[in-house]
Symmetry: C2
Subunit: 121 residues, 2 copies
DNA sequence: CTAACGTAAAACCAAATGGTTGTAGAAAGC
DNA sequence: GCTTTCTACAACCATTTGGTTTTACGTTAG
């Protein structure tokens, strides 16, 4: 049942950093290696590498090896998915929810889980 | 110059948590107090209160005092702003950037800063 | 072959995050 | 008035985050 939650967490968390958003912008054409990207920021190579990893785990970016180097390419579809997550959130209070979730449950479980009511206290 | 960066950080960070996204969903009608919200989650009142604060600092939610209690209301416009931030990100690699930033600079500075190139190394 | 480059991964550190409990004040109910 | 309810805030704690440096390894260039 819990499917979208962690994915969405990773997605928005990855977007919640200016350097990472900038990496996304620069990597659309998929021509830049991690080192080339790293040269663009006032931090170590390792730090940029970590940012790329965060973007990768969020599905926002893919890496393609070309010989020595690793080319970073942003997945435009993943960014669209982020927008979709927001639109779905908005849809919740615009009444389109029922039809939405019907469609979604037909294809794959992408409806976010709702935290349990607390039983103790 | 740096205007959108921190705001966007806060915005996406606030969205990067399932409990907070759920609070957003529940608070559209603006009828629920912090305690009422807190009762819905398996964590302490203080924890939920902190989540509401995060949403508030991100501009996603406002609080309105009604006597003893504080009613939470999500600002649908703020969620639209989040979507706009993503659309702007996508616009970067779709050529609409130039016209976009022209329009934006005319109204208010909402263009995100770009981290400096590193000078040392 | 050897040197240089690009990447990966580990160890470490300070600061932020997400949770807890406890204390205190303001409003409402009895 | 007194008690209860709701809120706010502080102090504390464990984990995560975002950065560092160092070491190791594969690939390319001389």
């Amino acid at each position: 049942m819990v499917v979208e939650s962690d994915d969405t967490d990773r997605l928005f968390h990855a977007l919640a950093d200016g350097t990472r958003r900038d990496i996304l912008r620069r990597s659309v054409r998929g021509e830049l290696s991690v080192s080339q990207l790293a040269a663009a920021y006032p931090m170590s190579f390792a730090a940029v590498q970590k940012h790329v990893t965060v973007l990768e785990r969020a599905g926002l970016v893919t890496k393609e090896r070309r010989g020595k180097e690793q080319l970073v390419r942003t997945d435009p579809d993943a960014v669209r998915r982020a927008r979709t997550a927001l639109e779905q959130l908005e849809a919740t209070w615009r009444g389109r929810v029922d039809r939405m979730s019907q469609v979604l449950s037909r294809t794959s479980a992408t409806v976010e889980d709702t935290p349990n009511e607390r039983t103790d206290r």
